[in-house]
């Protein structure tokens, strides 16, 4: 009997000790060695995020300071009783809440936050990054808590949306993992519902949170191959935006992840010159609308643009 128990425990451990790394595509893998004279800055999270929505902070002195309302309408209720210091000790007021709202394709692109989970496209209702701090230390939230977040819906509320948490890989890419995937199907506790033009979220952790649902392919799948003469692809931010699906995919090399054939996609490519002074930097962009064909190829031809033109295009998405 003891041997059987050990076997059952081992099987459970096997099932949960899993790596999903093989589903996280890197495009063509190892980055191309940097060319010192290419004149373009390497792709980084910091390259464009200053152009998009910025994190907001508020000190919460007591419950009367709640909710913390973001500039785009997100409301956050986060109570001291639900928070813990990194060492597990309890937290008392005051503490700080930091909120970043990425509710539009523009802000998601500028912060390099695609809506892809383990290589699969997600239809998104918006992303938020919520963190709490006390004495400069980042706080955790207890698993069972009374935290509530209300995110205004961009358009009609979709009752099939689910909650996804962002997990950062060692390469700095945030992959979205469906919440409560360990639950028995059909008995999953609802930690999100939509009502009255907004999504009500009840997360059991802080950090990156995404309102999403998987896009279920009914079409054939393909991958889009990219090329660029100058600069090399590793100096270009490339996004695929599917307006019908409200889905964003970032490409990290020459080949995209799997996308549906026959769907309209907007290719958004951006780069920035590597001038030391910020005011000297030149923005470059390339936009193309197309209907995805099998084994689609796209040649990126960046052209100089202005910050205003780039933002204006992203705003129109």
């Amino acid at each position: 009997m003891k041997k059987i128990n050990i076997a059952i425990i081992a099987i459970v451990l096997f099932a949960i000790a899993c790596s999903k790394d093989r589903t996280m595509l890197l495009g063509d893998g190892n980055p191309t060695p940097e060319k010192p004279n290419s004149g373009f800055a390497a792709v980084s999270k910091e390259a464009f995020d200053k152009l998009g929505a910025q994190p907001e902070r508020k000190t919460i002195k007591n419950q009367d300071d709640l909710p913390f309302v973001g500039s785009q309408g997100t409301k956050v209720w986060l109570f001291d009783r639900d928070l813990r210091m990194p060492d597990g000790s309890i937290v008392s007021y005051p503490f700080e809440i930091e909120l970043l709202e990425l509710l539009t394709p523009k802000d998601m692109i500028l912060h390099l936050m695609p809506t892809v989970s383990r290589g699969r496209l997600l239809t998104t209702g918006g992303q938020v990054n919520i963190r709490a701090y006390k004495d400069g230390k980042e706080l955790k939230v207890t698993k069972f808590n009374s935290t509530q977040i209300i995110v205004p819906a961009q358009g009609r509320v979709d009752g099939l949306m689910d909650l996804f948490y962002g997990e950062e890989t060692k390469d700095g890419i945030v992959d979205w993992i469906e919440s409560d995937t360990s639950s028995v199907p059909g008995q999953k506790p609802r930690n999100i519902y939509g009502n009255d033009g907004a999504y009500f979220l009840f997360p059991n952790r802080l950090g990156w949170i995404n309102i999403d649902k998987f896009y279920e392919f009914t079409e054939a799948k393909t991958q889009i191959a990219f090329s660029s003469e100058n600069p090399p692809l590793d100096k270009i931010v490339i996004f695929l935006y599917f307006p019908d699906l409200k889905s964003l995919m970032q490409t990290y090399g020459e080949v995209s992840g799997e996308v549906p054939v026959g769907r309209t996609v907007k290719i958004i490519a951006m780069s920035i010159s590597d001038d030391e002074k910020e005011e000297d930097r030149v923005y470059h962009s390339f936009f193309q609308d197309l209907v995805v064909a099998d084994k689609q190829k796209v040649e990126i031809k960046l052209a100089p643009t202005t910050k205003e033109s780039l933002l204006s295009y992203l705003e129109s998405l």
Binding site: A7, K20, D171, I173
Partner: protein, 182 residues
Amino acid sequence: MKNIYLKTAFLVLLSINLYAQDKMAIGASAIYNFPLQTIGAGLRVQMPLANRFALVPQIKYMPVFNDIHEAYGGINLHYFLLNNTFSLGYRKAVNPKRPVVYLAAGVEYNRWINYAPTVNDKAKKNNILPEAGLGASWGGNYVRIFAEAKYNILWKESYGEIGVLFFPFNDKLFRNNSCPRP
């Protein structure tokens, strides 16, 4: 030197006849990779090696409808923690209806057919993968169900396998393969 190998091989074959009451089995299975959520099918041969050991060459195929299209071929060694074989004087006898629980360890060649570089930098188009796991089988003299949970140590991926084993060479005389009456 060559003679020594031949003699060793002969002794191994002889040992199979002496101790293994369960004869060679062939099996088919369905496979589910837990983290990748891919499904596939497998074929195997289970060759008894000694009282508590069996060698199991096997192939697996995860078809193209999965996100990851790949094939495996390899060999596992099974060590029976709970065995259906018991001593009957100087001979070994088997109660085929008694469940078997075993540890499995082995090595596999993997061909990732639709390979694309991922954040797992240990995963290439061609791979050699060590694995370990646990399994159980139960059923009758000729047909048994088996289930296994295995862990791919290099890629940290676990998968489950459930299937059927056929023992076409087991002794047809049930009394030769059964427990003595209490």
